[in-house]
Symmetry: C3
């Protein structure tokens, strides 16, 4: 099966528009790491793909962390003495610092000032701020808004929020394949009205699950829509025994902007997904960059922690934190474009295609070349310009199909795109020149997919 062909250019335009509409539907919801916002978001995703909703009670210990209290908010504003709301949560949910405790009182501008956040360098933009792990309250507004306030006046501040025992919510979409070996796709779904970070990741993951759910696949796929950091930690804590099923994984974030692609490698650095992403980005995108692993970033931090050391990389267009719109009101629906979302989906499908089709074959005529000419495999019916590449790919596949090289190895060594190598292998197999080597991806109990087993053994034996 050639997965990336499932989205051709024509589909692509349509899909891009659908994806943007989906992101726009999610955009107004006030999400946080817990609460009704993320629940409503998961419910909306669940309308498109089969999603298991999970609720984990506040206070549950998850490794070194504890599931926090649940936060909900109804309203929030600053009103002047005439009762006019000069800052209003109902206009933009970024106005209230995420996880603000309730407050309702009058205070002077001077006192209020300590709770206000602005971006002087971008005086029209509202910043995004959170206070998850320290009980506090605050309001975010544009610098121009703040400047226009009467610095000698008194204001009424009201945040109608609640912070109390409840639960943390996440969603899990599992698509069973031929084998129990899994590919993990994870995105954080906790940010309020911010489009690139990370409604773009949520949207690409949702549509990727949609496309893959209609295909017969070798791998099983697990999509996680989780609150950042604490969500990934909670999922890992609840699924520690099963992570060895995960053979490959991608964290998806910042996939709707106009920047070139960046792929950040897993901690392993030479995992199959790292090589697959590199080959896809090299041949299918312009000037993409492959970044070395670093322990700072999104939820790959948790998947690549030393106890797990999963083969999980992170796919982005612009890297979080490097574009001025990051974590501001300017990261809005105009900042993400339909064609960029569709291209990101295509890249994900191409990476999946490499992983699905990356097999080893055995040349059944290993002594000298087989005579391709008498099988009509030495000249092509297509134009003379592509003739060379197709036949060249056949020669490469035959030459390296010694039972040791995978198609990804061959793509890397030949410098040819994976789909060309894949198609050559399938044609040669169908012509009786190659046999397929029967090694399906395995869930290895020796812990070679992750470090869990090794670490657990070390912990039990007291050697840690």
């Amino acid at each position: 099966m050639t997965i990336s062909n499932h989205v051709d250019r024509k589909d692509s335009d349509r899909l891009g528009r659908e994806m943007h509409v989906f992101a726009a539907e999610l955009y107004p919801i006030c999400r946080s790491i817990t609460g009704n916002g993320i629940r409503q978001t998961l419910a909306t995703i669940g309308e498109r793909v089969p999603l298991r909703m999970v609720e984990v009670p506040s206070g549950t210990p998850v490794f070194d962390w504890t599931v926090p209290k649940e936060w909900n908010i109804n309203d929030g504003y600053i009103a002047d003495q005439s009762g006019h709301r000069v800052v209003d949560f109902r206009r933009c949910n970024l106005h209230v610092v995420n996880y603000s405790v309730p407050v309702c009182k009058k205070m002077s501008f001077d006192e209020l000032r300590n709770h206000l956040f602005t971006i002087p360098e971008h005086p029209d933009w509202i910043p995004y701020r959170t206070s998850y792990y320290k009980e506090d309250w605050g309001l975010c507004l544009s610098h121009n808004q703040m400047e226009s306030l009467d610095h000698g006046a008194e204001y009424e501040v009201c945040i109608d929020s609640s912070l109390s025992d409840g639960s943390l919510s996440y969603g899990e979409c599992y698509l069973p394949g031929e084998t129990p070996a899994e590919i993990l796709i994870s995105c954080h779904a906790c940010h309020p009205s911010l489009a690139n970070d990370n409604l773009s990741g949520v949207t690409v993951a949702t549509f990727l699950a949609g496309v893959l759910s209609r295909l017969d696949l070798r791998y099983s796929y697990r999509f996680l829509f989780v609150p950042g950091t604490i969500g990934a930690i909670t999922w890992l804590a609840r699924n520690q025994k099963h992570v060895d099923r995960i053979c490959h994984g991608l964290v998806l974030t910042c996939l709707g902007d106009a920047g070139r692609f960046h792929y950040k490698k897993s901690r392993r650095g030479d995992a199959e997904v790292d090589r697959a992403a590199a080959v896809v980005l090299k041949h299918e995108t312009d000037s993409a960059e492959v970044l070395e692993f670093s322990p700072y970033g999104y939820d790959e931090r948790q998947y690549c922690s030393p106890g797990f050391n999963l083969s999980v990389g992170c796919l982005m267009r612009s890297v979080w934190g490097t574009f001025p719109e990051y974590h501001t009101s300017a990261d809005n629906l105009e900042f993400i474009r339909p064609e960029r979302l569709a291209e990101s989906l295509r890249v994900c499908l191409s990476i999946v295609d490499v992983l699905e089709n990356n097999r080893r074959y055995r040349n059944l005529n290993p002594f000298c070349e087989p005579q391709l000419g008498r099988r009509n495999l030495y000249s092509s019916t297509s134009g003379s310009h592509t003739l060379g590449e197709e036949i060249n790919a056949r020669l490469w596949v035959l030459n390296l199909s010694d039972g040791e090289h995978t198609l990804l190895d061959i793509s890397e060594r030949s410098g040819m795109p994976f789909p060309v190598i894949r198609d050559a292998a399938h044609l040669l197999r169908d012509s009786g020149l190659l046999s397929t080597i029967k090694d399906s991806p395995v869930v290895r109990p020796d812990g070679s997919n992750s470090s869990t087993t090794r670490y657990s053994a070390a912990l039990e034996s007291g050697s840690i």
Copy 2:
């Protein structure tokens, strides 16, 4: 023994002229992959070096191929209505498409046109075309010639050829050395009047065999003069059991033109011959280029097929297919120069010299440096300018002769030319400072020279 010294600059001029005379002798013969042309070519080579002629009957199966019918030609022409030959095989044997079936009839220019081949971009040159595996006929002529024909007239076309059961001919020159371990030198000898591709290769191989036949050598040498592709396949099919003797090999082609040298690595990529060629080209030629292996090319395609995976690279000046004269009448005796042929021979000898002398030694004073001064090894009798290099080479050889490093390793790590390292090692050995480690090149029954054994085992066990 220092082989490359056998051809000094003075010899070189003489040898270059002799080589060009030899190529000129072979040039007019109409060769093909079978037939009297290649037989006559082999006979001419056999006048200079001991050559065993082998005939393999048409129809013999050789791996996935079959030895083709034998092709011979007496005459071929296009005559106008006055009987004047406007295209005449007797003037240039490229005029008839190689392996053309016989034809003799009158036809309109329009009908004839479908069987004519020209090169519009080089209107004075005649192209070289073949039709080995599809029975057809054709004529090649300069574009100007074709343009001067009367496009409304009728012409007589005659190709007096035969295509019938016979045999495929190749020649084998075996020079026994101290050990049965072999170095294979292979060239294709099937092209008609084309000088660089590949009378240059045939000539360099013949003269290389001539020089080596007068020396006492560690390796045995096997020179193959074979028709391209089918000849190498036929030889491999008949010698499959013995290929494990082949420790190193070179395919020689396009060695007479004015281009810089190119060496294409074996499939292994780090074979001793790959490293030897790289070291020689680096130090003894200007701006040579070492190319990675690819499965397209000349007979290294067969030697490096996965079942054999022999350590065989390809030495060229200009790469086939990259110069405009390639496969045209412009690849003539003027295109190859005596001094280029001689330089190519010298490079081959230097590569052979590395392989012959690439041994490991053991420093008999491994603790601290031996006192070179009291042995007169610390200053040189030669001029002060070369003093440094000679002594430096001695220090390198002493330092790395720990029983693990070969002289080629030392040449690579020190960045010094192999002959300087070799001479230093011989001087130190003769001074009693080094012992020679007795590991002669071995014919390994474990198949580590090639993949044959491994593949055969896999085939027998049914695991393929």
Copy 3:
């Protein structure tokens, strides 16, 4: 312990001045590879650090060499017919060729000329010449001095020296640490009035020993002040059984001039000291260069001979032989600067600091990140500018502390300076997040520190 902090900028100025004063004290002494000059030098060093003086009798065999006769000199001059000393050893000890045999006679300028050495390109400079292993005599003078002599006149030449049985002297300063595993610091102390080569090395080594003697250290340290070549060989011959204690080592030379730093790697090329030096030079100096090993140089030649193959590199500023002042009277006290000596000392301390602190730790919360925030480890009390680096270092240390990576590995992979990584590790350890892995540097009887055991076994078994 953080060793490099022991010399802060303020100390540095003072230390630089002290170091230069010390070099100035040693400068006038006429040293050679044996004799009273080196004895007096060692005595002066011994006033600052505990030094064991060793005397090895002339004629003692040391590997392939023999300890030479002892050379001493009282006086030397060329006098004109009026008795005026035109060249006078008492003004500059470079005037007499080192190891000159005694001579006292009158001779014509023409006869004398054969024993005179000058540097025509630098007509004011006096060259430094030796004749250790060939009995001869000579005088060195500036080219201008020689030109001013009366080429027709007769001169009296007198060298009041002695060359007779005695001993070779060297000094050894041993600082015991927690473990018997040793770091070797070696410098040649045999040159007469030459400042950069190598009073700079002697001075840096002496002050390094002084600083380290006041610290509690994991490694034991052995400082060798030896005559070049023969001294290192003699030491190795007398200590062959114990070299396996040496885990790391540095040869110090040319450390006072204004050039950028150069570190020449050990023969191993990837020894821990090679990596430590590279990391220090990258982060703590400008445009330093790391050079590959070569068998020519100073006493690393002996330590890295194949029988020993110790992990000993060579730290220099300008490389010997590459600056015009090398081995001339222009390599004087003005050529070495206090601040350069102090910087060289700091670099040595930083390398020692890496080796002392290069441990492996184990992350005690390997599954997901530990919650740094609640431990006040996720924001820093220092300014916002350095916040990022400190926290980033903590994340790197936690992520890679899987029991396999050392802090040096982490510094290399993260691209962060070693001290930042080290401090992060110590803070995390003190916070209970890391445990220290108890592998102290070991003196390995299997010869993995050096090749001695392997070579000795080979010698005994007769396989050499």
